[in-house]
């Protein structure tokens, strides 16, 4: 099926009816998630700060999921010369970076009441920072090279290398964390998850996933159109 979509026209026709459905689902889930987040009972220990978790954790999930999408698309772009794969990788970069940045911001807002400091260099948050650096590197590389074909190839390699390095970075940061045990801090192993908190978290997670899918598909369709316009303009210039 994946190779069937390689052809841009077939992809555009296939995704056209999907778009309203995906967007409607995203908005619906977001509203439901928000409603559930604010009707869930307070956590006995953290009181209301637990509600920050409902936006922090999904953002971190999507930051990672988007990079996986980016890496896999890069793989298809590099190995199978899949014409749409480069557009898919490019379209996943910005939303992924924004989700990761959101995870950092909300993580910091969550850390202050819970750990007393705006930022703590613990394993989870540090690896999210490194993931954010991967995104910045990817976008900077693609923005810096003028020639689009060269930029696409270079970005595909970086996307793939990044994907391969993610687990290695995760392991090294965890190992680093054992070295420098910030003893003075409350070793929060993460909130104990009661059922009442699990549902809003999962719904919000699903909502973020659907929103990313909607954004991703829309941006890929835009990219297909943008490239068609550019080729048309170049052809028009040929006659000049």
């Amino acid at each position: 099926m994946v190779f069937g979509l390689a052809n841009p026209d077939r992809f555009m026709r296939f995704t056209r009816p999907l778009m309203p459905v995906v967007w409607a689902a995203a908005v619906g889930l977001l509203l439901a998630g928000t409603w559930l987040s604010f009707t869930a009972p307070e956590d006995y220990q953290q009181l209301d700060t637990v509600r920050i978790m409902f936006v922090h954790v999904p953002a971190a999930w999507l930051g990672l999921a988007a990079y996986v999408a980016l890496g896999v698309s890069s793989f298809f772009a590099l190995v199978f010369r899949h014409p749409l794969a480069d557009a898919a990788a490019r379209a996943a970069a910005l939303p992924g970076a924004v989700f990761t940045a959101l995870a950092l911001a909300t993580g910091s807002l969550w850390g202050k009441p819970m750990w007393g400091a705006w930022w703590v260099w613990d394993a989870r948050l540090t690896s999210v920072v490194v993931l954010f650096l991967f995104y910045v590197a990817y976008m900077a590389l693609r923005a810096a090279i003028d020639d689009e074909a060269k930029a696409a190839r270079a970005a595909a390699v970086l996307g793939l290398v990044g994907l391969v390095n993610l687990p290695i970075v995760k392991f090294s940061v965890d190992w680093w964390n054992t070295l420098h045990q910030p003893a003075s801090l409350l070793r929060a192993e993460g909130p104990s998850m009661t059922a009442a908190h699990l549902t809003p978290l999962l719904v919000m997670g699903l909502a973020y996933m659907m929103l990313f899918t909607a954004l991703w598909l829309t941006d890929i369709r835009t990219e297909v159109r943008r490239r068609r316009v550019l080729t048309m303009r170049a052809r028009a210039a040929q006659e000049a």
């Binding site: 700060t49 920050i52 159109r225």
Partner: protein, 49 residues
């Protein structure tokens, strides 16, 4: 029961949700605007040709 009283943590919960809402809204607006712009440009070129 809807609980909008964040008590002492209001200064943390609302900004967290606020930033998230703003950022996601910005992403959506940017994506939809770009889609519309290039769709119009493509129709103009295909129509005009």
């Amino acid at each position: 029961m809807l609980d909008l009283d964040m008590g002492a943590y209001a200064a943390f919960v609302w900004p967290a949700w606020g930033i998230s809402a703003l950022a996601l809204a910005a992403l959506v607006v940017r994506s939809v605007m770009a889609a519309r712009r290039w769709k119009r440009e493509l129709d103009r070129l295909e129509g005009g040709k």
